[in-house]
C-alpha cells in the first residue's frame, strides 16, 4: 500500500463522490488509514479507543467532504480532523493528567548524551523477524512524551514530510524538526543498549540492502 499521496487521484475521487459515486470513498480513505490510526494511537494510547476514534474521524471526513478545498493535501486535512477527534476525547476523559499536552514544551532542555556503543554499527534488518525487537521499539516510542511521540509517528513511522507533519499537528516546521531531533536522540539512547544484541555479524550486509552512503 502506498504512503505517497496522489493529489490528482484524490481530487478526481472527491469530485466523483460528491457527484454521487459514494462507494469511491473507500478508495479515497484507504491510503490514509494507517496514519489516522497511529496518530490517534499516539494521542489516546489505547488501541480500542484509537480504532473507535478512527472510525468517527472517517465518518466526519465523509460528512464534511464538500468543505475540502484542496488548498492542503487531502491526507493533511484528514489528519487534522483525526487530531481534533483525539484531542476532543482527551479533554472529555480528563484521565491523563500525568501526561497532559502541556507537560513537555520545546523550551525544555535539548541537551542529551547519546548512548555510545561502537558494537552496533550495522542495521539488524533481519532483527525484525524477531517479535521482541518490534516490542522494544513500540515500547520506547510509547514512552516518549506526547509532543515527541506524535512527530515520530508521522515523520519516521508514516514517513510523512516535514511540511505535512507540521500541518497535521498544527505546529511549525521548525518545531517538527526540533522535536524529531530530540525524539530520535531519546530513542537512540533508550534503544541502542538494548538492541545491540541483535546486530548481525556480517559486515556491510545492510549497507548493501539500503544503499546508504555518508
Amino acid at each position: 500500500m502506498t504512503k505517497v499521496p496522489n493529489p490528482e487521484f484524490e481530487a478526481d475521487c472527491i469530485r466523483r463522490i460528491l457527484a454521487g459515486e459514494k462507494h469511491l470513498f473507500h478508495d479515497l480513505i484507504r491510503p490514509c488509514e494507517r496514519a489516522i490510526f497511529f496518530l490517534l494511537l499516539s494521542l489516546l494510547k489505547n488501541e480500542t479507543d484509537a480504532e473507535d476514534a478512527a472510525q468517527d474521524t472517517v465518518i466526519k471526513v465523509y460528512r464534511n467532504l464538500h468543505l475540502f478545498r484542496g488548498d492542503s493535501q487531502f491526507r493533511t486535512w484528514v489528519l487534522s480532523i483525526a487530531r481534533n477527534e483525539g484531542l476532543g476525547r482527551i479533554r472529555k476523559s480528563r484521565t491523563r493528567k500525568e501526561d497532559s499536552l502541556e507537560a513537555w514544551t520545546d523550551e525544555q532542555s535539548g541537551d542529551y548524551t547519546p548512548a555510545i556503543l561502537t558494537s552496533w554499527r550495522e542495521i539488524p534488518a533481519e532483527a525484525l523477524e524477531r517479535k521482541e525487537v518490534g516490542e522494544l521499539l513500540r515500547a520506547a516510542i510509547e514512552a516518549l512524551p506526547e509532543i515527541y511521540r506524535n512527530v515520530v509517528l508521522l515523520r519516521d513511522i508514516e514517513e510523512m514530510d516535514v511540511r505535512e507533519t507540521a500541518a497535521a499537528l498544527g505546529i511549525t516546521e521548525g518545531a517538527v524538526k526540533v522535536r524529531l531531533h530530540r525524539a530520535r536522540a531519546m530513542l537512540q539512547k533508550d534503544l541502542t543498549p538494548r538492541l545491540k544484541g541483535y546486530a548481525p555479524r556480517k559486515e556491510g550486509l545492510v549497507k548493501a540492502l539500503f544503499g546508504w552512503k555518508r
Partner: protein, 83 residues
C-alpha cells in the same frame, strides 16, 4: 574549522534527513572520519530511524480495515445521495 562531538550530535537528525547545508555536511563528514564515537552514534541513530519505518513494527490491529470499511458502508447507506 574543527567541530566538536556535541556540535555533531546537535545536527545528527538533520544530517540523517539530508537537511544540513553543504558546508556543515563537509565538516561533519571530516569529523566522522576520525571520531569513532560520533560514527557509532550516527549509525545507531540511523538504525533506529530505519527500524521504525518498517511496517512490521507498527501494524494495524487485525481486522481494523474491515471494521472501518463496514462502518463506512453503513454511513454511506444512511447518507443521502451525496455527503
Amino acid at each position: 574549522m574543527r567541530i566538536d562531538c556535541k556540535h555533531v550530535w546537535d545536527h545528527i537528525s538533520a544530517y540523517i534527513d539530508g537537511e544540513v547545508n553543504a558546508e556543515l555536511r563537509a565538516e561533519i563528514d571530516r569529523h566522522l572520519e576520525t571520531c569513532e564515537i560520533c560514527s557509532a552514534v550516527l549509525d545507531s541513530t540511523r538504525n533506529v530511524v530505519v527500524l521504525m519505518a518498517d511496517d512490521r513494527v507498527f501494524e494495524l490491529p487485525a481486522g481494523f480495515s474491515d471494521r472501518l470499511h463496514a462502518r463506512m458502508d453503513k454511513e454511506l447507506e444512511l447518507a443521502g445521495p451525496t455527503p
